[in-house]
């Protein structure tokens, strides 16, 4: 299958082009067109490799940001009191409840160059919508509750005694956090990170609007599957899906091991 045909499948750049799916039922009249050769040819084509790289790098950065800010949010929600704490706590679940397409168009419009946030970032030379930075923003939005909700119960159940012991032995608050609290929170933090990462790799709805979908640059792997399906290249789509599934299952395995570890540490 040629790359040019692929590029035509999705609008390259800009606002994502016209509605590409409209042509799909019509193209059923042309069975077998664009069938890829072998599995490896389909999984290792430059455009496919670039899509994996974009997916992996943005997911990794987003999950890392989520780990840092998720820990902060969980800490503040569990330990400090401030007006509106319950409202803020409920709001953390918003990415679970808001349809991904709605989140996608809202973020894209906000961060577009004439958008409310994009217009403020543009003078600083920061472009968000239609770049990998935009993909990362969408993935941070999607992944945040995973980290916060995994950490909250663990933070809640931490015994005050160990902190008292650390304080009475002369540790500063920072030392107590670094040496006592963080090790106890680590399994949950890593689980949250892995959950956010796994979700980010497969995410489609919130990313497809903000990414701009330029092949080789801002095209994520799930979108490439979609493009191949619309061209009736089922073999190519399946090959990419198999690679993505293997990544998901590897992450699931990690999460199970981490949960076993955190249970053992709690015991």
């Amino acid at each position: 299958m040629s790359r040019a045909a692929g590029a035509a499948g999705r609008g390259a750049g800009g606002g994502g082009g016209g509605p590409p799916g409209l042509a799909a039922p019509l193209r059923r009249c042309l069975p077998g067109r664009g069938r890829a050769g072998g599995f490896w040819e389909a999984t290792l084509a430059p455009r496919v490799l670039a899509a994996y790289r974009v997916s992996l790098v943005t997911s990794l950065v987003a999950a890392s940001l989520n780990a840092v800010f998720g820990l902060l949010v969980a800490w503040v929600l569990v330990r400090y009191r401030f007006p509106g704490r319950r409202v803020v706590d409920a709001l953390v679940d918003l990415p679970f409840a808001l349809p991904t397409a709605v989140a996608g168009i809202a973020l894209t419009t906000l961060y577009a160059e004439n958008g409310w946030l994009g217009a403020r970032l543009a003078p600083l030379g920061i472009k968000v919508s239609y770049t990998t930075l935009g993909i990362t923003v969408a993935l941070v939005f999607i992944g945040l509750p995973f980290v916060v909700r995994t950490l909250q119960p663990v933070l809640q159940d931490l015994e005050a005694e160990i902190e008292e012991a650390a304080a009475s032995l002369g540790a500063t608050r920072w030392q107590t956090f670094r040496r006592v609290l963080l090790p106890a929170l680590l399994p949950a933090l890593l689980t949250g990170f892995a959950l956010a990462f796994a979700r980010a790799i497969g995410e489609y709805g919130s990313v497809v609007f903000i990414s701009g979908n330029m092949p080789m640059r801002t095209e994520i792997a799930p979108l490439l599957i979609m493009t191949k399906l619309e061209q009736f290249d089922y073999a190519g789509a399946t090959a990419i899906a198999v690679v993505l599934l293997l990544m998901s299952f590897a992450l699931l395995l990690c999460i199970n091991v981490l949960q076993w570890w955190s249970r053992r540490q709690a015991a």
């Binding site: 902060l72 009191r81 706590d89 709001l91 349809p99 799930p222 089922y234």
Partner: protein, 294 residues
Amino acid sequence: MAGIVTSRLHAAPDRTSALTEPRPVRWALTGVALAFLVLFLFIPLVAVFTEGLKKGWEAYLAALVEPDALAAVRLTLLTAAVAVPLNTAFGVAAAWCLAKFRFPGRSILLTLIDLPFAVSPVIAGMVFVLLFGTQGWFGGWLFDHDVKIVFAVPGIVLATTFVTFPFVARELIPLMQEQGPEEEEAARVLGASGWQIFWRVTLPNIKWGLLYGVILCNARAMGEFGAVSVVSGHIRGLTNTLPLHIEILYNEYNFAAAFAVASPLALLGLVTLVAKTAVEWCQARELARGAGAS
């Protein structure tokens, strides 16, 4: 994944000065956390409504009552009306088996329930195309019998059901596990039949968790995008759900209409959050009453 997502927010314990941070640090941390949440969660939510109303109430309402939009609303409601009861029935049955009994293959069943969480929605949709598409496994047979699944309503319902499959079960399993089988065993000893045990003992115990599971499942069923996008074929007025209609409007640069159509879905999301908070509150009150009575 939804299982670990239930939060319990007790009142923050009073801490002596040795066990908390100095006040400026507390304020700074709270400030940064709130700024982050406002930037990433609150502003996008507000943007949906302000952008939808940008061209005034008349344009907003016109976008909502346009025939294609109404057709999308009807299809979305139909899809949820099939997917949610199916997954509720399945979720209660699966949670009951997994929480109250030990049997071989139990952990495999648990993993299978989580599968739709682990799989990208695009891949979930693709599986149905591979199975029921014209070139798919059952494609030939379906074509001969003139049954359309992919690029038609049945495919949309199937994909939605698959993606929202785990929500009720995942909400109930930890709850039922915590409650244990003792009350059911007591009812059994007192001579209750299986149905009586379910209606009088099990169901009252799980009602709040079940309610939230159903609400969450419904929100996801109405908002599902990736999987439905693969199987729908995007035929306007026929196989377009609300999220797909939003995509079409947005890609046609009809931004105000796209956000207008998105606003009921955002409202549904807000209702889901409020429902979750209310359910947790009821649950906590019931627990407190139970503790007070004993």
